[in-house]
Symmetry: D3
């Protein structure tokens, strides 16, 4: 039995609270169990200089963690003067994954700023961020359609992310902090609704892993992403939804 | 009639949601109308070097704002490499105000890290931060008493803060963003439960203000702080409380 | 008797040395007792981008302290990579106070850079800075009038600042370093020649303070600012003036 | 035919020049085709503070690129004040991969600093870095054994890395810059001599990729890593070796 | 005739005002014509870590310029986040020159912090800084002797600095700003009282210079340094001295 | 006999390897004995803003050192957040020296970025950088002439640099690290092919130096620069050349 008492292929309880704050065009509080992330999407006219004049838009992401979000208080990154390597790596990942499902020509010369800020961390903050940010992206696009700024959605299809790992030799889905700290291999998988991969990042935390373990982890992750995308669809139809 | 339709001496709806997150010893979501701030208090053994070996504790505060919290997305401070002057000014204020109601010798050589992070800004983020942080401080101290780390509370008395201003010639209490943007004078007042002042910061945004206006503003602020302290007491007795 | 041997309502000896340096349009060495600050005002065509094209000017201030200015050498801020919170707070205050007495439309699209650099610190560096910077502002504007760049002064009226505090229960005017270190309440007050308030910043250093103490401090500060404005007038008429 | 005229499963010409510089304990110039990286390993007594007193060692990596190494000169990172997100991501990856093949208890309380600096970039700088750094690590450990500082090698087994990608629908091995810029999926794979995975990082540059493409890429990468490890073995036996 | 109307071998009017500020152990306002620099020397017990436990002292220097000191206001270095290359070069020079005339073993494990801050710049700020700092060093050492902290002066001999240059083909001494901006070669020379060189830095601003020009410049600089050391001696005997 | 066993007036073995890397327009690996520096020159259209619209070009230099290049690994400057004072001083020197032999009007509104990165340090890295960068500059200009971007070379004449010093009372040429660490005076001299001086930087490391020592050092340096310029000429005619 894994530490969280879940089945090996069972997601944590997942919730999306849309409209969490009122200023950003999209704002979602996403929960993967005790992991809570605020995902906002803010729209700005214009694009970074390397894109100017091409008629294309841009999606960029930033990731942060409140100091009190972790078991032991972490230092505020601004007092250190720069984002940590970990934060930068995560925000680059979030940006790439969302760009993979946005048609930049349909978006036109505007920028979608995605901000993912962790209120409470219990493992899987990057996968919760991507999964929640997709909902915030849909909500922001809806605002642009309502306001007549766009007449067609630039979003190609849903995207979701989940972690998988090998815990005491057993492949398990959606690791919480305790499981993540004690597992041997950790893989983050990002998939689209049509079942294709956007990102695959596997790391041997302890011992290196075998090809058949890769296969088992990818199966598990595919199942998890499929379920998450189902929950995203429900959330977009009905507002606040518990998975 | 002031823009917010409130009486000139009426606070916004105030709420404290205790236990908002689970890792920090104290964690409160405070709402002053649409202004929402997460206040956490994390306890660490030890004190900054300038205090070492004196048997005294320390309380320090940091303040931040999520990029999506404001009407127009604000840049993430860490990407600018340093906290803005405004953020530093506010966090210095929060720290001073809380230190004013803590007996450092009773606290002993440990540090209370107060983090105030604005999820949604609609005026008065610094006063909401101070008022909410006091509750988080009480909750953190309760944990220390329960765990036997302290045998007496170092908190001397409640402290609360409110803004007052002169809006079109009329002194009004607890300005929201729209009122704050259009008022002539803005004053932040921090008071203790025994009715004394901890801080007083008045600024002429447009035209300088007269002595009798100072008097009217201080009266209004005293009333506001008294009410806020009443709401704090209720929150501490009953958990989540709407004012 | 207060430590400085002055009467409770007595200012320190105040001096303004105009034309202290030759490149900046205005340059004043101000002394409040042993506190010495160089205040320069440099004129630049153009305004920050948020103001462009509105026909309005801008006044901005920066504050610094020479490392050797304090009792114990302080670290040079540039080697720390950023201004301290204290410096930022003070320079924001100086900027606000001077903007309160300048008509930005009369100034037109140009920027007045105010630099206040403390050569020797003995308490009250921010109040000396504001009081001296006003003289430098007048001198810089005179140059612009002489050169025909302005045909009317944008300065509305004089502004001066003084600190007051409660020392061993007694309200006293214009604290020096020794008094400031041992007083319970410290208030900085900025007033215009017509007797109105521009800023009011009171802090309970030790014990919180009562309303009647606020009243006494404001009376004292009003008297002090009135006298300082008298000395400013003399300095502008006669050059170097000792108060 | 792929742009580089190589077979789809053909590595670029690979060379290791050991003893490239004289001060660091290990120093290797590695070439993957036109990609050239200097990998040095410097030994220091002591470990970072989070490891002190546990009898364990540490391996840490830094990655940089000479400004003139790229097609268009890139800005020197130090003049930007911090390593780019890309550099940090790569150096974190290099460090993790090398730690995966080092027994920290055998190493003892000392730190191996790995520096990978790109002299000339033509795709695959991170995989060349890992593959070359392993040789430099062996050479540094040999010095420590010779000097009697270690009496047993802490290196568990060889590690190598290679990129694979889908270029116009075809899985290809070891992408050069031109191929990398035009391929749809890019995957970096790090493997040990026993054929296990240490890292797996796949990214959909253009269109998301399917499960059967993952399989084909992993087959190709396994073949590539196996060959690279063969070349590493030759290099360690014979000095400078062309693959 | 050179622009400043001085003879080619004539120094500007030189003044030293000792005791310019009261907190630092040594404090001198030095004037080379219109160039004005505050030089303070502050004593601290202890030395940097690389010197600990060797019984030797250290002399270190920092150099800055008030924003209003130059013809056109220069940006405050702290707002740029780091000292400019020019400032660092100058402060490294000042430190080296003073260390050349101090016996670190006689000084013992304490640090002399030299701060040179330019109030008004008109060419030759680095040479004025070195020449004035020597006086401040003597004054600081006198304090240490008076207080019984030292029983012997660690200062070996006086040191002074002057600039020389080739202005329209003619070697001239002690360039002011206007001369410096238009001369072809600029050399800064630092010499001791016994006529030896401590530093020599010559730069071809426009056209390269010949060996016989080097000879003429060194002759001129020797004369200038000799005179400056004479003025230093007078200043130390008599207080404020005009050269 | 000096430590390196060379005659007092003997250069180390000097080599230039042209075309060391392929992307930059000029790329030279220069060796002064065991000191190895990569010098690249990259051409960019446009000039810094202070030069825009004047029809003139610019030459700017940056200098760095690989962490593993020194006897003991040095910290990577980017992790310290800024170039050290030493690096800035050296890169300012390199830039000045190369600008002294380039006609900016012939170059036109383009910038030559010179990057000197030390792969292995054994004394004299700045003199090797200047001497090697001149070759890279020639190679970059040849490319611009071939491409028809320039129709005339803007390079006025060769420039080379060498260090000289007084080792145990004897003037010696081209100090290696061991000699540099133990010598009393260190002078870097930069000269043109016509035998004029571009820069002269002499420092008393231990005891100050006399005028006749300056003369001896300048003689030695002139001989060294003349020989280096001879070797540069050979390298430009014949490709890789050992001196």
């Amino acid at each position: 039995m894994r530490p969280s008492q879940r089945r090996t292929d069972q997601l944590r309880s997942v919730e999306f609270l849309r409209g969490f704050t009122k200023h950003a065009e999209g704002s979602v509080l996403v929960a993967f169990g005790d992991t809570r992330v605020v995902c906002t999407v803010s729209v700005a006219e214009g694009v970074p200089s390397f894109l100017k004049g091409q008629g294309k838009g841009w999606v960029t992401a930033e990731y942060g963690m409140l100091p009190g979000a972790t078991h032991t208080r972490s230092r505020r990154e601004v007092t250190l003067g720069k984002p940590s390597g970990r934060s930068q790596e995560i925000q680059r990942l979030i940006g790439r994954c969302l760009r993979a499902v946005v048609d930049m020509e349909v978006l036109g010369e505007r920028t979608l700023h995605v901000d993912c800020d962790v209120l409470q961390a219990d493992g899987g903050t990057r996968t919760a961020s991507i999964t929640g940010a997709y909902i915030a992206l849909e909500d922001a696009v809806s605002k642009l359609l309502e306001r007549g700024i766009l007449d067609q959605s630039p979003i190609l299809q849903p995207v979701a992310a989940v972690s998988v790992g090998i815990w005491q030799g057993v492949p398990v889905l959606d690791l919480d902090y305790e499981e993540d700290s004690t597992c041997d291999t950790d893989m983050n998988v990002v998939m689209t609704a049509d079942g294709y991969f956007v990102e695959l990042q596997g790391t041997a935390e302890g011992v290196p892993f075998r090809r058949n373990e890769v296969d088992a982890l990818l199966d598990l992750a595919s199942k998890g992403c499929r379920e998450l995308i189902g929950l995203q669809m429900q959330a977009l139809e009905t507002g606040l939804v518990a998975g």
